[in-house]
Symmetry: D2
Subunit: 422 residues, 4 copies
């Protein structure tokens, strides 16, 4: 049995952090019209309104109902409407119908948030010291959960806006980055036994535990992610038309969906454009390629005569870097070119696909109770990604962080870092 741990946390600090994370979610929604909160442009995405309510439902369900005596839920049906996938809590609104809910209105959802926030502050003040550990652990989980949804919010808004023939922009166009491409170097790394997994300091999700030994082999990692310009060579050499580069399921995806470039790319009059959160823009060849599926990442690597990294190769490298990079705080909301050969872009910029299937670590135990559904039940058919992206909050990231998506997913900010056997 396993409970979320946050380590010793000061009440005032946690309240400040609660305030900050909750406010940040709403800041991210500031550019939206009421109309924008409603849309679910494809099954994988959710309406902004739903994100806003669901993260509040998380606090209501896992903190207020069990720990705040006399807490009065904002609305009796919200436990049904805003449960995402916790089967052990009872039935929930079908994912495919999240976009069909015009009610509650956006205004009501903001009132729901305020209602939950108020009750949460009361709880944080009132809870006994004895139970503070448990409560602080869960609140920290809830805040990390909300940060994950902040990232999804941006990815989902981008998808919705990209589907719209009017091509709205979420934010102003940014100054264009230079197109000069930083040369790619290979970083040689020796094999041996190494440790990965959460080392116990600070918060981590259950799927990062337990820390354990792994056997690394000699290998090399690319000094930065693959760029749009490099990926264009793959396209132009016919990569999307030659089955020999593709996994069988990837080739099937290419043909069924007519993939011939990353998501959001379009060719007009011989020039490539793509959708960004700053609107529809010409492609910059120096930027890291983004919005590719695992299949595309894998095919590119095979075409290039390389392979994708294993998650333990990336984690041991990440563990040596400072957690810095193009995170959401940069305000770019877009992968930018490496600024120098020393800029490894290990953190932020793009989530990097690994060749590792998302599986339980040896000895893995999910959290107890319904919170055990948070991560463990998704350990099939998905691939691990590492390092965070330009929509990730910096405080949310660490070396042991395991993100996961289906191999066909393209709407997250996903990119490619190459590896090679030695």
């Amino acid at each position: 049995m396993n409970a979320p741990a946050a380590g010793p946390v000061n009440r005032m600090d946690l309240m400040a952090r609660f305030q900050e994370v909750r406010a940040q979610t709403e800041r991210l929604c500031a550019p939206l019209a009421v109309d924008d909160y409603q849309v679910q442009s494809v099954l994988e995405t959710s309406p902004p309104k739903w994100h806003l309510a669901h993260v509040s439902w998380f606090f209501e369900t896992f903190l207020l109902k069990p720990f705040a005596p006399g807490y009065l839920p904002f609305h009796p049906r919200f436990e049904y409407l805003f449960n995402s996938y916790y089967e052990t809590l009872g039935s929930f609104h079908p994912r495919a119908q999240r976009g069909l809910l015009s009610r509650p209105t956006v205004e009501e959802v903001y009132r729901y948030r305020a209602h939950v926030d108020e009750a949460m502050f009361t709880l944080m003040h009132a809870i006994s010291q004895e139970r503070w550990g448990d409560v602080a652990g869960r609140i920290t989980l809830g805040l990390n959960h909300e940060q994950q949804h902040q990232e999804l919010l941006l990815m989902d808004i981008k998808h919705n806006f990209a589907m719209n023939p009017l091509r709205p922009a979420y934010q102003e166009k940014l100054a264009a980055a230079a197109e000069s491409i930083t040369p790619l170097r290979w970083i040689e790394r020796e094999g041996g036994i190494a440790e990965i997994g959460h080392d116990g300091g600070g918060f981590a999700f259950d799927n990062e535990t337990p820390r354990h030994d792994v056997l690394l082999r000699d290998h090399a990692l690319a000094s930065r992610p693959v760029t749009n310009g490099e990926y264009l060579e793959f396209i132009e050499s016919g990569g999307y038309g030659d089955a020999m580069y593709w996994l069988a399921d990837g080739w099937a995806a290419v043909r069924e969906n007519g993939w011939c470039a990353p998501l959001y790319w379009e060719k007009h009059d011989g020039h490539w454009w793509h959708m960004t959160l700053a609107g529809f823009l010409p492609l910059n060849r120096a930027e890291p390629v983004c919005h590719v599926s695992f299949y595309e990442a894998d095919a590119y690597a095979r075409w290039a005569g390389k392979r994708l990294p294993r998650e333990e190769e990336l984690e041991t490298m990440l563990a040596k870097q400072r957690v810095e990079g193009n995170f959401v705080e940069s305000g770019l909301l877009h992968p930018s070119p490496a600024t120098s050969p020393a800029d490894g872009q290990w953190y932020g910029t793009v989530w990097e696909w690994t060749r590792s299937a998302y599986s339980p670590y040896p000895g893995f135990q999910p959290l107890a109770g319904s919170l055990g559904e948070y991560n463990g039940k998704f350990m099939a058919n998905q691939m691990v990604l590492r390092g965070g992206c330009c929509a990730t909050p910096r405080s949310h990231m660490r070396a042991s962080y395991r993100n996961f998506f289906y191999p066909h997913d393209r709407w997250p900010f996903t990119g490619i870092r190459l590896a090679a056997d030695r």
Copy 2:
């Protein structure tokens, strides 16, 4: 070649009517939150925002662009976004994606309407007398078109609200009607040659023309539509479980969709409830049954040992009645019981399914040009309905009016009137 005709129309009168119809559309939207304008709850329905824009697009496309020199469209992409199905005008936004458009916002759509209205008034003032006939004919068509969308707007809002577990109400709950059922009489009618189709006075759609002879046989028509109470007997006697009452395609629909009652009906603790525009209410057995498919109407008739009327039987009867009844002007927006044995409910209340496939009348010619796509191209696989419903504007209805839906459609206000051979 065929052009929409409105007969001699006074400019001031048409301007007043334009003003009135356009304002009525917006009045119908007054109870909506911004959030409600966005949703397409199922493929057949459209978001209110789309309806508001599409009817304006109609005037822009068929009046302002051809007749108003120098007219500047509100937005260059709206001709793509708000074309419903006019293939000869070019490609258009896929129907299935109408609910995914968060932009234009509701506020922009209202500005679009104002832009079009202003240009339309300018046109109505400025157009030469020579071209007035053409223009007046098209405007009249456009206003009738908008009235059709007023009705769809209400049907679509009802569907969206009914899909929402919060079960919002569009309007206040009305005073409950009595549950006493008016006895059903049979009106005997002799056969012979009769005329149907538009007789040339006032506006009609092209599908009501030409007026022509038909051969009627001796038959009888029920004095009022079938009630909820009568339909419940069909349900309770196992009608939905016995293939012998059903057309083959209807039986397939029953099984695939799990139909066991009209759309919007639910049984809770032994009592039937249904969704209405005034919210979720107990079923009133005296009200006409509504939201049944053609298949259900046909199965009910077979179970009752009767049949559905042919469209010519209804039209010749309607031609003898005054155009009065439970129309949208009643404000009920719901089928109400017949008030007396003399209240035939021939007009309004519920659209009555006929046994007539929607086919061209002998000698039918569609309107010239793209307007020819208005009605003619739908003359396959659909059934004719007659008489209007509680969401129809009274000024929109006439004896020769031919509505049409697919036999599986249930979201319109559709009901049943029985007929019998004699």
Copy 3:
């Protein structure tokens, strides 16, 4: 209540006819390998083995079980396996899985046929004179039923062979017909009241009754069906690419299915070929066009400035012709060119699509009991075709015969005769 009627039938005559029809079914299968009996190439078709068994099931179910005391069914599960769609008889094997039944084997199915035949002859000998009328009526229905399946057998074999990249031939290649096209004349016909429907002499299906008056309008009928050459003009002028010729549902079918020519047509090196029961052959422009859907027939007619005939127009014309033409007895199994301007090809050659939805005649009563499911329940969403085709047995055809298919069906031998208003 309604029972199948055959009129006064002599026992010896009916036994001879029984013998002949049953033998003809097996003769049609003679060219098949055991392997060919098994395949269901698309949902609409059935494996030859299934046809062979189902028509025997019909006699077992409607004659032997009710009328032959002590009849022992060949196999207890065949009543489940070979029921086509008679819901009132109980559940049945799903249509989509007919091709998955490797057992019973072909050899067992032939033994089943022999078993049924023997019991049928015993019944025909032994039944009392009192019950002979009923029995003879049902046997006559069963034989007409089997003749319908003979036609389906050929259509289904053709479809299966056409799907096979080896393009097998069912029969030897026939001598090529001349390519000279008989000029098309227009036969002018005056309107007025006429009678259609079965006149009571000999067998008819229930859907041809009752005979009743119809009101015809002045019109003209083409002197022969549309040829491949004429249809090619429609193709070459871009008919499949221009929505203005198409019903909305037809246009959707064109786009979803990528239709650009009749079924079985292929263009190789600038020349059109098509699949026939004699293998893959160059297209003969003089032959009547075949394997077109109602949508294509309707679009062609609109392109040509004409319309499709109504079923009453064709029936009153057919009633004046002798039942002669290119029927299955010709052995061609393919539509051949008209031999002279006097050869109207009214019967046989191709089933002619009409503009008439398949609806009940006024006063229609289906047969009593389960046999009532034979025709009546299909009276929605289908269109009437008239006159028979090159796969129809001549003895099966008459002026009042109403065939029906869905408007998208193309695998039957369906063609086009034009009509025009006058």
Copy 4:
């Protein structure tokens, strides 16, 4: 670059083995009627006829065409019809349509086999010693390939027969095995660095290479697979109805497909039966459970408080066992109970699901050319299974063998062995 290796192989030995494997395939088909060769009961399966031809196509494509000068293919279209999935060889017949090919007939397919066999013997005699190594490597691959299809043949026949309401039997009913269940013991195993992968002696598929170190942890393995009786406890305790035991994708599969027991199980009058290759039989509680998906295996393990083994845990155990067990040679074609506590059933009986996603070994290189498509391209979304089953030829199995199926697959002979962390 990588070529299939067979080690030093004597020509006479290989010819004998060729003869034997090819004959065994045909022996497995002996109980089939011609009708049975045709059916593809579901997308994953193939018709027996197709298997017979495809394995011959393999020799034609990879041996005769490149190595036998002047070889005349049996039929020019077979290279299209019987290519399974080798994209780099050109287009091929769609998998979903394998069951629609009534031609070539079974008789022709057997002639095709004879044609290929004759040419292969000529090749094996005539090829120069210099090229013998290459040829022998490819032939050995081809024979192992054919053995894989022997196993698929039996699995596919079982599925087809199980879909048939007549429930045919492939072979006579065997003597019933005792129902006494061998107690389950736990075999404790210490962790450390171990080697897995093919050690270079004899044939192996490319996916078993290279041999490499892995890091094992302390763990225990169950002494035998889970039995039907044990699995029934899971069912009876509500395992299929409780989401907490299931991976998210597994729970979705349970609900979409209505799974409530292993494939082929049915409950009649309170007793469980299941389909076997000897027909429909009562369930024996002592037999290993079979025809479960990875999701069911994983859920069972979680319910039991254990986990599934990793592939390296099983391989290191298998490497210590003799390759003996219930293989196809036993003639049972069904999982039989363990005969004693010492009977670990490590080989044969049922393929054992592992918790390992099917991924490339470190340093993996696929075979050169089109043969590289044999295994490598399937390394996504599938899970590894180990040990062989009752339909596997004994000579086909070894410790390093990696089989793989999708986690939802149930039609192979798949079972469960538990593991536990220590």
